[in-house]
């Protein structure tokens, strides 16, 4: 058995063009200690902050770094963010900017980050996962009886517009690292993992006590695309109008 990742949805905020999408997702199979065919599976998602410039780029750099050099501790993450920052500065410093873009750039770029490593199962079919997160992009582990873990464990009413964020400003980060969260757990063949940025995570959190919510997401019968379904939820106010990303990890 082998876990595989499928990106189900990358949808920009309603009213925006597809190129305005500022979430990011990256994945890779294998790592420095590759010891088993197909493992570890590395997945990261990020939500570039709407109110900062070059935040889509920042989000992409962060997820790319995680899947190349996965980290599980603050010290490792600080080193990774420093590498991303060097690259970010190189890219954004290339062209002259109008006055407003110059002023905005001084504020820096900001993004959430959720990185997850799925390690190979043991002979009994039980594997380990490790996750690290800053902000409100969430991992949901669903077992045969419903929700097993939500990470980070954010309540519906605590989702907002100012989550903890990874910044290109080291001073800002030094104040936000206290919010960094790490977690690990076990997975078996029946488990499904969903990685979602905040709009869908918040929706799922509200509906979470009811297993129906997961069925609704996972058992689309093809009569309506997931994108159309999200549009409907946005229109009814059930899902916040924001860039939306959904990826699923499950058995082949």
């Amino acid at each position: 058995m082998r876990l595989q990742l499928e990106v189900l949805l990358k949808l920009q905020k309603a009213g925006n063009a597809p190129e305005d999408y500022e979430d990011a997702i990256a994945w890779r199979i294998g790592g420095p200690d590759l010891s088993h065919d197909g493992y570890p599976l590395l997945v990261a998602i990020a939500d570039g902050a709407t109110e900062s410039s070059f935040s889509g780029l920042w989000a992409q750099l962060l997820v790319g770094e995680f899947v190349q050099k996965p980290f599980t501790t603050l010290e490792q993450m600080e080193r990774s963010v420093t590498r991303c920052l060097r690259l970010w500065r190189k890219i954004v410093g290339k062209k002259p900017l109008p006055w407003y873009a110059e002023e905005k750039l001084k504020e820096g770029s900001f993004s959430t980050l959720l990185g997850v490593q799925f390690l190979a199962p043991n002979p009994h079919g039980v594997g380990k996962w490790q996750a690290i997160a800053l902000g409100d992009s969430c991992l949901f582990q669903i077992g045969s009886r419903g929700l097993v873990v939500q990470f980070p464990n954010i309540a519906y009413e605590d989702f907002g517009v100012t989550p903890p964020l990874v910044s290109t400003d080291p001073d800002y980060n030094s104040r936000s690292w206290v919010k960094l969260a790490c977690k690990e757990g076990l997975w078996t063949k029946d488990d499904i993992f969903l990685l979602m940025t905040d709009a869908l995570s918040q929706w799922a959190t509200k509906e979470q006590p009811d297993r129906l919510v997961w069925d609704e997401l996972l058992s689309k019968d093809g009569s309506i695309s997931l994108g159309d379904w999200v549009d409907r939820q946005r229109s009814s106010g059930a899902v916040r109008n924001d860039d939306t990303t959904l990826a699923i990890v499950r058995q082949e």
């Binding site: 709407t50 900062s52 002023e103 030094s174």
Partner: protein, 254 residues
């Protein structure tokens, strides 16, 4: 308008008003600025009222015209460089050069036809509300240095605040730039202690801050309560620009 400003007597009141307007617009533009340019999250109209009530933005064909924020971003009259003091992250303060675009020059014209200006603002908002019935309601920032000279502005303020989209009523926020050297006041929740009769009138005209603004203000250490009004005395309202919600933003961690 040519009188000295109470908070800084080296400055005329008209300088303080022009600064407040320019800073407000610059913050709004920067808020909407992205790597590819400025996104039109807002439409903006500006009514100048001194001797007359006139369109205050170069290029606007009428005072009631709203234009996308990107067209404002690209058309300042000039851009100055000013020094700004910012925290250095280690408990100190450093001076940083910032670009300060100017759309308005100070003008001491005499007369304060506020009633007419509020009526014009309402006209502009009426058209916008009918075209955008589900959007966040219009926000009107009234920056004045003196009492209305064309009557009691309260009825016009009431009519303006009565405009609504499905997301709520139009918001009227007032800033009083005064010669009175009384202590600046931000978002009071009662008119007690305000410097004069006119400040109290503006307080009553001002909308209550919406719950999301009160919450955001509390998180960032502003002295706000559930009953706070969108009124400041000899202070600016730039913080209210920060709380206009267009999506995820960095909180002001301190």
């Amino acid at each position: 308008m040519a009188d000295p400003w109470g908070r800084d007597t080296q400055k005329r009141k008209c300088d303080a008003v022009a600064d407040a307007m320019n800073r407000m617009l610059a913050n709004l533009v920067i808020k909407c600025s992205k790597s590819e340019g400025v996104r039109d999250y807002f439409h903006v109209g500006i009514v100048g009222y001194g001797g007359n009530v006139t369109p205050a933005l170069a290029g606007a064909s009428s005072a009631a015209q709203l234009v996308p924020i990107s067209s404002i971003a690209n058309a300042p009259l000039r851009i100055e460089e000013r020094a700004q003091k910012i925290p250095d992250g280690a408990g100190g303060i450093v001076e940083q050069k910032v670009k300060f675009p100017m759309w308005f020059e100070p003008a001491a014209n005499g007369g304060t036809p506020m009633c007419e200006a509020l009526r014009l603002a309402r006209q502009a908002c009426e058209g916008w509300v009918s075209e955008h019935p589900s959007s966040f309601p219009p926000t009107v920032l009234n920056i004045t240095d003196g009492e209305a000279t064309d009557g009691d502005p309260s009825p016009d303020a009431d009519q303006l605040r009565a405009l609504a989209t499905s997301d709520g009523n139009a918001l009227l926020y007032d800033a009083h730039i005064s010669s009175n050297p009384a202590t600046p006041v931000e978002y009071p929740d009662s008119e007690e202690g305000l410097a004069d009769q006119f400040a109290r009138l503006l307080f009553r005209m001002s909308s209550a801050l919406p719950a999301h603004v009160v919450n955001a203000g509390r998180q960032e250490g502003l002295p706000v309560s559930d009953a706070s009004r969108g009124f400041v005395f000899n202070a600016d309202m730039v913080t209210l620009i920060r709380f206009l919600d267009i999506g995820t933003r960095a909180s002001q961690l301190r």
